[in-house]
């Protein structure tokens, strides 16, 4: 694992052989041609990344502003999306809701499951099993998202119907879990889109968690065992605290994927009817930022309709950014205890 979406990786937490952080740049440059060439190339690559992110931001803002100025509704609170004509009205609150709900469901499933799989592979599985198990999980990451969407729609979706029924029967008194009369079929709901996203996010969470759990020093694990810890207590005392920053990184990387995933969500979710009342249920249809843009882009033939979609994309950009910032703060706060 070389990097992560939070800009920190578990590797950063490990002191180098001389006790310095591995990120601390050394001053080994000799000023010779080779050093200068490679140093220059590396610096240029670093600058390029910063430039790209800045340019993407500037592009989104520049394209979005005219449409936002023409918008007759409140962009942040309106549930409408009518971008044709001279007085467009559009807002993102429904998109934000659908995006957040599907991603939260995905994380709620994928993070515990991914951490559990990573613990199994690194702590419990015998050697002959851990490698194939890890490879199988990694293979999941190689499946294109359209396949997951199609599989969900044609095969897995029908099995979600009874699951949804059970959830509704048990927790339906909470509006969030209530199935509504005449609602979309279970496979076209936010809940099922979240489940499919969870499967897509799972290999990311598992792979990174597995890396950090495998790096837990034997000394810490033996320290716990020698105190009379059972295997699970050893995991709780030594493995999980050590791996926590890595798991947070993994979750954020996965969340980034879940927030932005387009194809699978687009073919699964059924659109809401115009003017349908807001429902807080996960057994409802809707559109995420990404699926809205994917569906809308073909019909976006005016500067305003394109700009409106770009503005939506900008919010997704900011959302991802905020999520990463929060993750960073969480990791930094525990930093004194992980060095």
């Amino acid at each position: 694992m070389s990097t992560s979406i939070t800009g920190r990786s578990a590797v950063d937490e490990l002191p180098g052989p001389d006790g310095r952080s591995p990120l601390a740049g050394d001053r080994a440059g000799t000023g010779r041609l080779g050093d200068r060439l490679f140093g220059g190339a590396a610096t240029a690559s670093g600058l390029l990344v910063i430039a790209l992110v800045t340019l993407v931001g500037v592009f989104l803002v520049a394209q979005a502003i005219p449409a936002l100025q023409a918008n007759q509704a409140n962009f942040l609170t309106s549930r409408e999306w009518a971008t044709a004509g001279t007085s467009p009205r559009f807002g993102i609150v429904d998109l934000l809701w659908a995006t957040v709900v599907t991603s939260v469901i995905a994380m709620a499933i994928a993070v515990p499951l991914g951490v559990a799989i990573a613990l199994f592979i690194t702590q419990y599985a015998p050697t002959w099993l851990s490698r194939p198990a890890a490879a199988t999980i990694d293979l999941l990451a190689a499946v294109p998202s359209i396949v997951f969407g199609f599989w969900g729609l044609t095969i897995a979706g029908q099995y979600f119907e009874p699951v949804a029924g059970v959830i509704d029967a048990a927790l339906g008194w909470i509006p969030f879990f209530a199935e509504s009369e005449g609602g979309p079929s279970a496979k076209s709901t936010l809940a099922f889109a979240g489940v499919i996203l969870a499967i897509m996010v799972l290999p990311i969470v598992t792979a990174i968690s597995r890396e950090v759990f495998a790096q837990v020093p034997t000394a810490h694990k033996e320290g716990a065992l020698a105190l009379g810890a059972t295997q699970w207590e050893m995991i709780r005392t030594a493995v999980l605290p050590f791996g926590k920053p890595g798991v947070i990184s993994a979750a954020m990387l996965g969340l980034g994927r879940a927030l932005g995933e387009t194809l699978a969500v687009t073919i699964l979710l059924s659109a809401l009817n115009d003017g349908a009342p807001f429902s807080s249920s996960i057994f409802n249809g809707g559109a995420t930022f990404a699926s809205k843009i994917a569906l809308g882009i073909q019909e976006a033939n005016t500067a305003t309709s394109t700009g409106a979609l770009i503005a939506a994309g900008l919010v997704l950009f900011v959302l991802t950014f905020v999520v990463n910032a929060i993750a960073r703060v969480v990791i930094e706060r525990r930093k004194a205890f992980s060095e």
Partner: protein, 258 residues
Amino acid sequence: MAKRIDVKDLDIYYGDFKAVEGVTMTVEPRSVTAFIGPSGCGKSTVLRTLNRMHEVIPGGRVHGSVMLDDQDLYASSMDPVAVRRTVGMVFQRPNPFPTMSIRDNVAAGLKLNGIKKKSTLDDVVEKSLRGANLWTEVKDRLDKPGAGLSGGQQQRLCIARAIAVNPQVLLMDEPCSALDPISTLAIEDLINDLKSEYTIVIVTHNMQQAARVSDQTAFFNLKATGEPGRLVEVGDTPRIFSNPTEKATEDYISGRFG
């Protein structure tokens, strides 16, 4: 509360590889026994069988018996977790839990035993840190990370952590090899203090240290290259260092090999 250890005909294996053969010895309660010998002769391996940490390594197993007073540590009804709560261990490199404060490090073993009452924990933390000669140095920063202490302090923290659960026996695997001479002296003084309450077994590469701290010394050596390690001789420390029975012991102690 210290207990006596009786090791009888102990063979230790890693998978099919026999690492140590035929160890028979007795460790008296409230005494310090030092294991000395060249690298790779199995002294740490033997130490780790005394609290069943050896079997944590895949393929690790033993033949023979280890008795703690009248309890057979390798009886099938014996839970290794219970053994490790009775026989504490301090490792070669200080290994405080990096995510925990000084207080939580010391209390870690108690929390595993399900003790949650704050006043009890605070009492034990203070008592253990005093017992490890660390209290005055850390009493004002108990909530700071344990990993922020110096190497010698970290090792004393690990000793405090080990004695907090009230073990009968304390095993130390080269506890000073990663420490400077001043910290080493502090640990050796501590071993002398702890001797009055615990049975202590210490592995050391430093023969002067063995001579300074131990009552009894056990010399281990390989029979020959590729052969399993074995216990060459064990006896009162002054006798082993002045008048060993075996030629190999004398050669090792006088610095002719090892």
